[in-house]
């Protein structure tokens, strides 16, 4: 693992019962880069992201994030995860949700941070509204706020552009561009190629649990998103 790697994955295997979801995955992600993690449904993208987020443990292999174990408290402090579920509580208000996560992430002034992020995601007018009354787009934006509010160094996003409305996509893209400009690292799984490839500096393709391709994002890929799948996708 080179010193500039934010994430180092070495020989990782993961089984679910009989089924090998990940087979001997090894690659690095440099600090400050944006990796688009591609692959068909069921390829193993979500499984890998969950292991990186510390939600699951690899059966074999080693993972180092920012120099530490994924489950270390310091590591979790610096990771922001946006999974399939929005990760916010229905019975709490937008403000209460963000304040809670601010507290859990040890943010200096949870109330202030919560208010700031409500503004940044355009939810300040509904700050006291309960999430159960929010529209889908509003929930997505709140989820994004939760993910970013503690200034994470590493962002793990699982198919973030899926099912977002236009406003939410805009908000997210802006945030991601800013994050990259600030030197943060992003790993983003997607099969929505265009939006992801625009932001990406690097690409990795997972093909039935195995690493099919790992390299820089090229103009070719941007021009013709299907190119990767045709060349390195499943047989």
């Amino acid at each position: 693992m080179s010193p500039a790697s934010a994430v180092a994955i070495e020989g990782v295997w993961k089984y679910f019962g009989d089924f090998p979801a990940l087979r001997d995955i090894s690659f690095d992600v440099k600090a400050g880069s944006c990796l688009a993690l591609l692959g068909r449904n069921g390829a193993g993208k979500t499984t890998l992201l969950r292991i990186l987020a510390g939600l699951s443990k690899a059966a074999r292999g080693r993972i180092t994030i920012l120099g530490l174990d994924p489950r270390a408290e310091k590591t979790r402090q610096r990771i922001g995860m946006l999974g399939h579920g929005i990760g916010v509580y229905e019975e709490l208000s937008a403000f209460e949700n963000l304040r809670l996560f601010g507290r859990l992430y040890g943010v200096d002034d949870p109330r202030k941070t919560a208010t700031e992020w409500l503004e940044r995601t355009g939810l300040d007018r509904v700050r006291d509204g309960l999430v159960r009354e929010f529209s889908r787009g509003m929930r997505q934006r709140l989820a994004v706020a939760r993910c970013f509010l503690h200034n994470p160094s590493l962002l793990l996003l699982d198919e973030p552009f899926t099912a977002l409305d236009d406003r939410a996509i805009q908000v997210l893209q802006e945030l991601l561009k800013t994050a990259l400009a600030e030197g943060r690292t992003i790993i983003m799984s997607t099969h929505q190629l265009r939006e992801a490839l625009e932001l990406a500096t690097d690409v990795a393709l997972i093909n039935r649990g195995k690493l099919g391709f790992r390299g820089e994002r090229t103009w070719e890929m941007l021009e013709d998103p299907g190119w990767l799948y045709r060349h390195y996708g499943e047989a």
């Binding site: 408290e73 990771i79 999974g83 579920g85 990760g87 996560f101 859990l104």
Partner: protein, 226 residues
């Protein structure tokens, strides 16, 4: 934020959610009332027989109604994948567990404090002057129920048969605490003095609570993550 601060934040979150939805406490209370009603068909509420079994009746109601609350404890985190959000956050498994225990404890005590006078009314039981001691028994016994119930709620959260597995696993383990609570409650409700003999049950309850709190705090990380 400190260990305690984050733990309390989690407890507050659970309680706040429950106060807004009221679904679990309502279900639990309804269940308690139904059990009290059903038992009145089994025993003649006026007879002296009730004195002898009062403690047992009371704690059966508490244990059964309590399971509803305990089951929901981790199950409610599955909505929107909030459990993942919590586990991925820097809080330790112990903080998450303790926060939930505190919230469950509060909810259980609320249900019990409402059920107790209703029990006294239905079964024509005069509540003892030494109500404070009975309350102490409730505090000690309920903590045991809470700690075991919350840990196993975490263990069974992802299982299909969660509602079935939790009671199956938890009730046998709770037997020492339930026995202690039942014995002490029966004596106190009957208005008798707590002799030397019954001090054993107090010691047992405290020992149960201490041992299983420590054991749970130690093992919860393994249950939640691996």
């Amino acid at each position: 934020m400190s260990f305690l601060g984050q733990t309390l934040a989690i407890a507050a979150k659970d309680l706040r959610s429950e106060v807004r939805s009221k679904e679990t406490v309502n279900a639990s209370l309804s269940f308690a009332l139904v059990i009290l009603l059903l038992f009145s068909f089994a025993f003649d509420p006026d007879s002296d027989q009730v004195r002898e079994i009062a403690g047992g009746l009371l704690w059966l109601v508490f244990a059964f109604a309590g399971t509803l609350i305990l089951n929901r404890s981790f199950a409610r985190e599955l909505v929107n994948d909030c459990l993942d959000a919590l586990i991925a956050s820097p809080v330790s498994g112990a903080q998450l567990f303790l926060g939930k225990c505190l919230a469950n404890y509060a909810l259980l005590m609320i249900v019990e404090c409402i059920s107790l006078p209703i029990f006294a009314i239905f079964y024509n039981v005069r509540l003892p002057q030494r109500l404070a001691l009975l309350f102490l028994v409730m505090l000690l016994g309920t903590w045991g129920l809470t700690v075991i119930g919350t840990l196993f709620s975490a263990m069974t959260v992802n299982l299909r048969l969660r509602e079935l597995m939790l009671p199956t696993l938890v009730y046998p383990l709770l037997i020492p605490a339930l026995m202690g609570a039942i014995q002490l409650s029966t004596v106190l409700i009957a208005g008798d003095t707590l002799g030397e003999q019954n001090l054993f049950w107090f010691r047992l309850l405290v020992a149960f609570d201490v041992i299983f709190t420590i054991l749970s705090l130690g093992l919860v990380e393994i249950v939640l993550v691996g």
